[in-house]
Symmetry: C2
Subunit: 388 residues, 2 copies
Amino acid sequence: MAGRNHLYIPGPTNVPTEIMSAMNVVMEDHRSPIFPNLLKPILQDLKKIFRTETGQAFYFPATGTAGWEIALTNTLNPGDTVIIYRFGQFSHLWGQMAKRLGFNVEIHEEPWGTGIPLDKLQARLKADSAHQIKAVLATHNETATGVTSDISGVRKAMNAANHPALLFVDGVSSIASIDFRMDEWGVDGAISGSQKGFMLPAGAAILAFSQKALKATETSTYPRCFLDLTDQMNNNKDGYTPYTPSIPMLYGLRKALDLLLEEGMENVYARHYRLAEGVRKAVAAWGLTLCAQPGFESNTVTAVVVPADKDAREVISTAFKKYNMSLGGGLSELAGKVFRIGHVGDMNDISMLGALAGVEMAMLDCGFNITPGSGVAAAVEYYRATAN
Amino acid sequence: MAGRNHLYIPGPTNVPTEIMSAMNVVMEDHRSPIFPNLLKPILQDLKKIFRTETGQAFYFPATGTAGWEIALTNTLNPGDTVIIYRFGQFSHLWGQMAKRLGFNVEIHEEPWGTGIPLDKLQARLKADSAHQIKAVLATHNETATGVTSDISGVRKAMNAANHPALLFVDGVSSIASIDFRMDEWGVDGAISGSQKGFMLPAGAAILAFSQKALKATETSTYPRCFLDLTDQMNNNKDGYTPYTPSIPMLYGLRKALDLLLEEGMENVYARHYRLAEGVRKAVAAWGLTLCAQPGFESNTVTAVVVPADKDAREVISTAFKKYNMSLGGGLSELAGKVFRIGHVGDMNDISMLGALAGVEMAMLDCGFNITPGSGVAAAVEYYRATAN
């Protein structure tokens, strides 16, 4: 249909025109004497997004999936034990990756819709008195279910158990949008990608590692090359990269950092909370429920459970074909049971009201028993009441 | 200085405005029902660039360096023996990668400026009657020295030795610019990147594998995940990817394929030969020599040897600071001994004459004993005589 596509998936997110324009550059020599003037400040400013002063930030021309692998293969040894709680497709995939890469993976099942169970984690770590567990893999924001886990709580559980494992956090769909404090929470590896809160196309793994994690790279015997952190460090210290970076991506990242830091991270977090809260008010007004259990609601993506006699795929298909709006689908065991509304990145009130209106139309078309306008009205009231 | 930078490095190369414009798209859902309409034809048309009908083409959101790793880790087993001839920084790095990844690497030294010694290769393969060697790693175009090796000859040597090893070819700086015939030459893995002949920014590993190589993925026990070919195959068959691709890169690749196929691969090869030949005429007119020995001259990059009393770094620095022109430097043992002129991608006669004029100015500034205008004149004569 005419008119633009309305993109409400949790990544890739809408790229602001300012960023697309900033990426529209001619190529340049990544070995020139002035190239470090571009890269070095980016790596410094990234630390402000990760909220770390003692850690080090990295850019790889890859994706968040590569970021998961970078954390594992640069710091651990083959066969090392890692622990992960599985409660959605992305925590599932990270655990599967660790298994495929030859680590001994303790996968603990939790109901989809919940997050990391802090008490259980603490008990498990306490029981591991021999410190066999070398890393805790924590999915900060489970994109598949719209669940945010308490990483500060994970750190407290680790400390309470006096456990020395590394803490690796999948922040692909949280960092640069949901409150994240690397130093304060004692995160050893923070993994993100360009296509969510950073408001860029996919194609950059954006990471930060603590000094403890970087120290671990020295003893890790895991074979690695393209995703090697040491190669990056050796080159980054002079402002260069071990192989050709994407020039447009770096200029886009520069612009994204400018936009985020100009808004201020606390404001970025507050905006995402507020937009998400409006969506949640709408879902409640429709009489539907979230996949996320209370206390786990994500501020970047909301997974909405459809009634048992409905197929969420039809809502998504109708929204796309009839109204040119893209929603996220239910993944794996959630296929057909939920649709997902992304509210991450370059979003504001009107963006979300467009999403909610489109969802209402699609649900009504699919015979949902909802009151037309009810969700939009609930969000409108909330947004008006909380607008600055 | 005012005026644009003139980029004559062998990658990233100049991206045509048509491609940059094609990349300037809004993001879209990579799981939508229409996404395969974008990806599937790209993967099909890539086969026309690799010149393969029986092989399969792949896109990874990574770089050519990742492409090297993809070939090794998807088809071989840890500890397998591979053979590589080292005659420049990039054949060096590929061999080093294979070592770091735990393969048993037979590195044979050849003088920098030469390429793969076909007789020696044939003899070595013949001597390997137990077929311990599982893969031949062949650097088609050694970007560091401006040397092109004879891949057709490599295949003939392998066949003459009746050796079943896989043939992997680093075509990062040759594919889509220098004659390359995957099926005809029996190449099992062809590795390229986006930022050379494909005229795109860095950020895509572009590959093709033979059925024999794809079969080998089934028995390879090497741990891998982000760079796994099987994950790609399982998703690509339906037109999808295992993780988020770069939407702008795919639209750019679509446009690059259109431009290349419209020009015609034979014409693309002929253009690169002709532009390179003009550069070589200029070098001869200056009384300088190529790093490449006769018969090994590359059509995408020319490494020019400076007189023993000169430092090539000064030429490069002068060209950059005084004339805003970027040349390639000498890498590793060639540092200071050569400068490199890239003539790959979106180039034509006037582009190269600009490069040659700039090089002349910089060399004269550095006290080179050359006749002003001599190189440009030689190239002008050649280009005029051979222009259509």
